[in-house]
C-alpha cells in the first residue's frame, strides 16, 4: 500500500484517463488512485455507489452551477479518473459541505466525505486554493482560525469577558505533525 501511495504521489495527480474519439470511449481504471483514496478516512465509501443520482437533486452546488454534479464525481472516482478530480483547477471546492448528498444516498456513500478525502489527496500534493491555505496556516500556527490579538481582547473587555487564553501549541503540534504525507500515523 505504502509503495503504491508513494508512486502515485510522485507522479503528481494520479493517472486515470478516459480516451475519447474512438469507436467506443475506453476508460482505463486507475486502481492506484482508488487505493490511495481508500487510505483516507471514509475515502473507500465511493466503491458502494451504484450511480442512482439521488445525491444530485438536493445538491446546492449542482443547482447553482453547470459543472458540479456529485453523481458524475462519484463515477469518476469509480473509474479512478484522478486528473479530472484533483488537479489545480479542481471543481471539488465548489462543494458547499451541506451534507444533503449524504442524507439522500441509499448506499451510505457520503459523497461529501469522499470529496473531502480527495481534498486530503490534493493537500498531500500541495494543491490548495489560496484562501483555504491561509485558514489552515492560521490554525497550524495559532491553534485558532481567528487569532488572538489586543484588538480582540479589547472587544471582549467591552462585554466584561476575559482575554482569550493561549492555545497550548506544543500539544497541537504533537498531534498534527509531522506531515501526513510521510505515512506516519
Amino acid at each position: 500500500m505504502a509503495a503504491e501511495k508513494g508512486r502515485a504521489a510522485k507522479g503528481g495527480a494520479a493517472k486515470g484517463t478516459a480516451s475519447k474519439g474512438g469507436k467506443a470511449d475506453i476508460v482505463h481504471v486507475d486502481f492506484a488512485f482508488k487505493r490511495e483514496l481508500a487510505e483516507k478516512i471514509e475515502g473507500n465509501l465511493a466503491s458502494f455507489c451504484y450511480q442512482c443520482g439521488a445525491c444530485v437533486g438536493d445538491c446546492p452546488a449542482a443547482t447553482y452551477t453547470d459543472d458540479f454534479n456529485p453523481r458524475m464525481i462519484m463515477l469518476k472516482v469509480l473509474y479512478g479518473l484522478g486528473e479530472e478530480l484533483i488537479g489545480s483547477e479542481s471543481l471539488l471546492w465548489e462543494c458547499t459541505n451541506c451534507y444533503n448528498c449524504a442524507e439522500r444516498c441509499p448506499q451510505d456513500v457520503k459523497p461529501v466525505e469522499v470529496i473531502i478525502s480527495m481534498k486530503n489527496m490534493m493537500a498531500d500534493r500541495g494543491i490548495y486554493p489560496e484562501g483555504v491555505e491561509k485558514v489552515i496556516n492560521t490554525f497550524e500556527t495559532t491553534g485558532r482560525t481567528v487569532p488572538m490579538s489586543s484588538a480582540v481582547d479589547k472587544q471582549r473587555a467591552r462585554f466584561g469577558l476575559p482575554p482569550l487564553p493561549p492555545v497550548p501549541m506544543e500539544e497541537i503540534q504533537a498531534l498534527i505533525g509531522p506531515a501526513p504525507a510521510t505515512g506516519e500515523e
Partner: protein
Amino acid sequence: MERFAFFPGCLVPARYPAMEFAIRQSLLKLGIEIVDLEGTSCCPDPIYFKSKDKLSWLSVAARNLCLAEKTGVDLFTNCSGCTATLSEAWHLLHEDEELREKVNRRLAKIGMEWKGTSKVRHIATLVRDFVGYEKISETVVRPLDGLQVAIHYGCHLLKPSNIMKVDDPNDPSMMEDLVRALGADPVRHRKWYLCCGKACTDEDLPSNMMRDLLTTVRDEQAELLCLICPTCFGQFDHGQMRIAKLFEEDFSTPPVYYFQLLALAQGEPYENLGFERQRFKPECLKRFEIQEPVEEATS
C-alpha cells in the same frame, strides 16, 4: 443546576463576543451552569483543516473532547461548525475501533486518551432538551409579540442526521419552537433549507444562492433572520452587503443570533448586546424596549 462544559470555538469569542456575552447571560437565567474549559483550540474547522488531513483533524477534535472529559460533564458548542466537527469525531471514534486506536496513539503523546464520556450538544439542543420551551418562556420579561422572525437552520445542526440526531432534517421544528418561546412569530420562508454558502470557495455560486434565500425572506416580510451559527451569521451580515451591491438589490434583512434575541427578551438592554457592530442592525428590536419589563417573569 445542570452543569455543562462550554466549548467556545474561534468565531464567537474572537469575532462576535456579543454572542458569548448573550450566551452567558441567558444560560444563567435558564439555570444552566457553565464550566469553562482550559486549553481548547479550534474544533478544528470541518471545512479547511479537515480538507488537509482528516486524521490530524480528528486527533485535534479528540483532544478537545478529552478536555471536556476531564471536567466530568457533557460539552456544548455555540457554532454549527464546531458541532459538526466534535459530533462527527465522537461518532467516528465511537464506531471505528481501528481509528480510535490510531487517534489514541497520537493522544498518548500528550498524555491523553479519548474515552467517550463527554457527549456533544449544540447550545440550541441543550436548551431544548435540558430547559424546555416552557421554561424558556418563563424567563421572558419582554415578549417579542408580533415580531416576524425568519428561520435559518443552516446545515450542520441537522445533518448528517444519523450523527446529529437533533431533529427531522427535512421538516425540522426546533428553531420555530425556540422563537415561539420568546413570543415572536417564526417565518419559514420557501428557501429555508438552503446552505449559507460559506464553505464553498466558488464566488458566483454562494452569491446566487444567498440572493434566492434573502429574496424569499424579503417576500415573507420577515423583520430579521434568526440563526444559531456564527459562520452563517457572517455570511448574512457581511456577505449580504456584498450581494446587495453585486445585484443592486436591497434585502435589508438583519441576521440575529438566537441567544442575543433570547437575552433581549429576558430583559437585557438592546445597547448591551453589541448590535451596533452589525452591518445590518436589527433596530426593529428597539420597539420592545419601550414597554417596561414585566416585574417578575410569569410562571
